[in-house]
Point group: C2
Chain length 159, copies 2
Amino acid sequence: MPDTPAQPNEADIRLAQDMLFFAYRDFTNAADVILAELGLGRAHHRALHFIGRMPGMPVSDLLSILRITKQSLARVLNELVARDYVAQHQGRTDRRQRLLRLTPAGQALERRLFQRQRDRIAAAYAAEPQAVDGFRTIMRGIMDESARIYIDEAEHPSR
Amino acid sequence: MPDTPAQPNEADIRLAQDMLFFAYRDFTNAADVILAELGLGRAHHRALHFIGRMPGMPVSDLLSILRITKQSLARVLNELVARDYVAQHQGRTDRRQRLLRLTPAGQALERRLFQRQRDRIAAAYAAEPQAVDGFRTIMRGIMDESARIYIDEAEHPSR
DNA sequence: ATCCTACGTCAACAATCCTGACGTAAATTC
DNA sequence: GAATTTACGTCAGGATTGTTGACGTAGGAT
């Protein structure tokens, strides 16, 4: 078991870099078979995921989560709407907003994609349940403050 | 503090999905300022990172780590060689191989890129050192077996 | 009435990835 | 020693995902 000094040395950091790359590579890869079948890409998956996570989310929120431009999102979103995976509703308090939700077909697809990634995470969690808290703590620490806030909101849905 | 049952429920998995996205997004983003300055992309950074990590690595190893095609790598690698960040040497035991290493300029650049990502990881580790073991354990669990093997090798350099 | 915001959209372009095919030198196998 | 396989390089063409910049419209805010 490697040391974990309070002042991390270079080898610790390099290892973390490698791990982030590999874990993300293999985690995202898990859903690719289904996406390829349908002629969709990872960009579509990301949109489906976050829309499913926070139904009724306006376009602007999705933009700031994905950190891509309006035009990049538009392409993906238009296709998801055209294929009836995503529905747009006018906002009530602010009618300029297009609130996004998954259609039943979108939910079904998202669920299929989810299963693949689920298996990977579930296996890792089940093998070492005592490690989960540490994993979450460090992952929170790596991301931006804004992402931490989003995650806290997603965990206590206030609607 | 959330529960961490042996059988992870859906909310646990969804949270992990979010965390992987955000941690990776913000971690990779950290180096982008320098890359943009030099007109390089993330693909170049990935190559620099892994070549720096395992100097003398043949092209085929890099291909299987990055999981991209020869042509995609060729473009990136040719540019790194042209700009004198990467040098290629003929293999001794197998002269078909092009063994890759960073030039001094490549090492210097990789180090600059490294510093940015370092800050993020170091802060997270320093704030919660007791969480590091758990982080590593789960990250290992998420990645493919082949990635675990690579990581173990990188930690005990046999040269 | 004016200004700002939350969208949509058009056009052009860049980075990164892909498939498939073909070539060459060197190692390996029969 | 010949045939096969391996480790590359490279050419051609195409798809996805991202970018910038400009412009338009409906609706909220002052």
